[in-house]
Symmetry: C2
Subunit: 335 residues, 2 copies
DNA sequence: ATATCCGATGTAATCCTTTACATTCGATTG
DNA sequence: CAATCGAATGTAAAGGATTACATCGGATAT
């Protein structure tokens, strides 16, 4: 691997010229450019990123942290982010925080240390070590949130209208005729879980059915939904709305274990529209989030900030969609 | 963010001493060390990674590429890898190649450019751009494969005994009394799919049932299994062995669509033991791979190479396990 | 008392690239 | 023809850390 010095020598020019050929080719004469590029190609020269980033104070990298990489929801977001990053000349580092604040802080330190130019976090916790940076630079800090919008964070964010989406789900169940509806939420600290709950309660209240909602707290995992579903079935609910598709999977499993059948005995509606949701038994009715687009827009937002665009958007709200498959149906008429 | 120079000035020592305190503290006197560390703490100094890596030619980073980040199987492997990397003082960059050779090459270039110290790839394709490096350094090249062992790659690898695991699955079905067994494989280029197929055929042949196997080609995705399952059901198989849990999910979905019931009418057995497998309907019998351990050992192997351990192991074979849940049962006696 | 050694610390070169500023030279203008 | 300009290129200073080598002073050996 040659250095720029050797390339310059071979091409009979100075290192400055080589550097210019590579980063601002229009400043170099046609003739010289061709000669340099020829040498670059032959020698297989590529600029040393450490040296470059030392000099420019830019790493051309974006850090993307997810609270749980085994959650398929995030996979699609990551994809969208990587594509957008590639388009903008950045590469993405993915970090799995496992909901561990210590790990979150470790990753956040990479930003303080300037190992990466910006941070996108998909969880709801803003790492503590970023507080000073955020206080200093406000929304000009290269930090963006995806999915888990919370106004107190003071960070730009990309998300759907969770309250409205949730209301759509409840409305769908009400329209089908359900009057005893179970809701399995995310953890209480999750801001979007609160938004969704508020939306659900809103929709029920508007229909004069505030009391028909039976609320249970889950943690987005299939396992947590199993227990809560058993509980809800004991309450004779005819439908269950889960705040994630994974929980819907757990709910379906518990329904089957109880000797019941979905949607004949109990309807189930999920949230996320994972790629696998169509293969659930029965295929899952759910709220689709534009996952890839969320990833893409978070990166675009971050890149705007990095480029110093004067007034980057603060909040981007994308459209959700109710996808009706076979896990929801009118309640059994017998009841 | 202060530099080492300012820290040195504040502590009244030279930059060399500060550097030594941080990397080889035993070379510095107790007294000086304390003073320097105090300044470091107060000033919040952290070494600039670009400068360090420029000087040392090491990045303290490992690149881990996965062919499909939305596949939950890889999530667990990534976790194990990240833990092991953290233990060894490295951090992990995750790259999603989406099975795209061009993207694979792009990531591989990060190794050539020394942006990362080593590469772990979980797919079966060795990026073309690494051929020269591999030719030059042989197995001393900092490249390790996980899961997809293939002897022709000439790269150390961590994996299970896929043929034996597959044989176990078939044997389980045979033991239950199945005599018409469908097999849905991975893509034909996948070496582990070939191994598994060989193992399956072996087991069937040993039982004198070579002709009872009905083989269909899938691509590890749920969707591909749906079509193949329909086809197999038309052949009146009483059991289906899928080379991934995702395909098992597709198979279950297709079985339900056909108005049949698992395991009453058709048994299904998967491969991987995803976290969700226990929530399938019915809970899935499958071959468990030690996913976290695969990740961990690939990193350990790579770190051995990076540290110049003279004879790092070439192949690590970990243990699999047949996990019997409820998706397999004896065939309906009526047949 | 002198020579020797060793632990602790300092000096300065080095890693490779980018870029502000300087230089050169041919073309244009008055 | 001298002065001015501008495009193309070169010179050299940064950027921050590591580390080979040099230095210093006190302890030990002779």
């Amino acid at each position: 691997m040659p250095t720029i010095i050797e390339v310059a020598a071979l091409a009979g020019v100075s290192t400055a010229t080589v550097s210019r050929v590579l980063s601002r080719p229009e400043q170099v004469s046609e003739e010289t450019r061709r000669r340099v590029l020829e040498v670059v190609r032959e020698s297989g020269y590529t600029p040393n990123v450490a040296a470059r980033s030392l000099r420019t104070l830019r790493a051309a990298k974006i850090l993307l942290t997810v609270p749980d990489i085994s959650n398929a929801f995030f996979a699609s977001v990551i994809r969208g982010a990587e594509e957008a990053a590639r388009d903008a000349g950045y590469s993405v580092m993915v970090g799995d925080t496992r909901h561990d604040p210590e790990v979150e802080d470790q990753y956040a330190d990479m930003l303080s240390r300037r190992e990466v130019d910006g941070l996108i976090f998909l969880g709801h916790r803003l790492p503590a070590s970023l507080a000073p940076l955020l206080a200093r630079k406000g929304t000009a800090a290269p930090i963006v949130n995806g999915c888990e919008y919370s106004p107190d964070l003071g960070v730009p964010s990309v998300h759907i209208d969770n309250a409205a989406a949730s209301a759509d789900a409840i409305q769908h169940l009400i329209d089908l005729g359900h009057r005893r509806i179970g809701v399995i939420t995310g953890p209480e600290i999750s801001p979007i879980s609160r938004d969704r709950l508020a939306g659900a309660i809103d929709a029920a209240t508007r229909a004069g059915l505030r009391d028909s909602l039976h609320i249970r707290v889950g943690d987005y995992s299939a396992g947590s939904a199993v227990d809560q579903t058993r509980d809800l079935l004991a309450q004779d609910v005819t439908a269950i709305f889960c705040f994630s598709d994974e929980m819907a999977m757990g709910a379906l499993s518990a329904i089957g274990d109880a000797g019941l059948k979905c949607p004949r005995d109990v309807s189930v509606i999920g949230f996320d529209d994972l790629p696998l949701a169509r293969y659930f038994q029965p295929p899952l009715t759910t709220i689709a989030q534009p996952k890839g687009m969320i990833g893409r827009r978070t990166v675009e937002l971050l890149v705007d900030i990095l480029r110093g665009v004067e007034s980057p958007s603060q909040q981007v709200t994308l459209r959700h969609e109710l996808v009706i498959r076979s896990s929801t149906a009118p309640p059994a008429s017998g009841l």
